[in-house]
Amino acid sequence: MRRAARIVALLALMGTAIYLPFRQEWAYYRKDVPATHTRTVRPGRPAVFQQIRWTLLGYGRAVLKPGDLPAEGIGSPQRPGETLVLATLRAEPLTKNPRDFEIDYSLRDRAGHSWSAFQWHTTIIQGGKDPAYVMGLVPDWAVGTFELVMRHQHQDLSSALGGPELVFRR
């Protein structure tokens, strides 16, 4: 009995040893590599990401004025059952030198769905008073549950793989 258990354990160990490296590679190909470190921040609390101090001011629906366009990257027109949403943040750069930001924005709910998001009408300069906006298009059922996520953008602008992420809680 004991010997059989040992053999089964050995086989299970071998299977796991073979499977694990393959699983990791598979995850990479499918761009499903989760963040290696997740930080969450409550609304109104500041958090630093890419040398900018971000403070979430609020989540809401986006209102486009006549002639205004949604963020580049969001297809238009939006269909029934879909809503343009906005995360409004205060962004304070911590360095004086102008630089390009390489942030991969997305919106997620806690059920595991995610949607693309993009900066909108935002210029981040030191001493600037205007808020920063991140816009996304989500189905109506996600309007009250989505949260903004920031990750470092991959060099080829494709989805972020691993790395840290910052989640702005509701």
Partner: protein
Amino acid sequence: MRRALSALLAVGLACAAVALQNTHWSYTRAYGPFVKNGRVGQAITEPLFTIRVEPVEAARTILVPATSYSKPQEIPANGVFIVVIATVEARRSPIYAGQARLHTRYGDYSPTDKFGGGGGLTTPVVTPLSYVRFQPGMPRRGAYVFDVPREAVTGARLYVSDHDAEEAQFGFYRNDPRRFADEVHVDLGLDTREAARLTRTAAAGYSVPEPS
């Protein structure tokens, strides 16, 4: 007796090890694409997306509507345009279903490039589904359009993969568009009689629906 059994076991294990050297998964089984089969009208669900394909249509010419810069024009097919209208929805995160192919007995055909948009340098005059980024909870209905010889229509099947080649130009192995992808193979119901009917009644001036 016990020693003989141990020796026998050792020899057996050695033989098994040698045999296992020659036993391995095929490339496709190990690296994909991982295929799920379906048919027209059926919702086919993959881990990352769901697709439902409508009955196939055919066209001799496709009407491209006027834009701010050009007049309306009719684009003729070299053979016949096979228009596959499908509704695609991402299940979890944004994806492209950009790797669509029409699998025929003559080989695989990519969506036609007659509408422009090649290499991502221009915007196509008609937006095929290959250009659409699908997101959860927001299904899109649109068309994949193929230009194929009339003789290739019989038995043609639609292959759609969730692995996009457009965004994966750099990095370790990322140029291989089909590796580790999930792929749907849809039987379009094009037997000899249906293929003959389709090519015989192919429309002129067909308007390809924009993703909606």
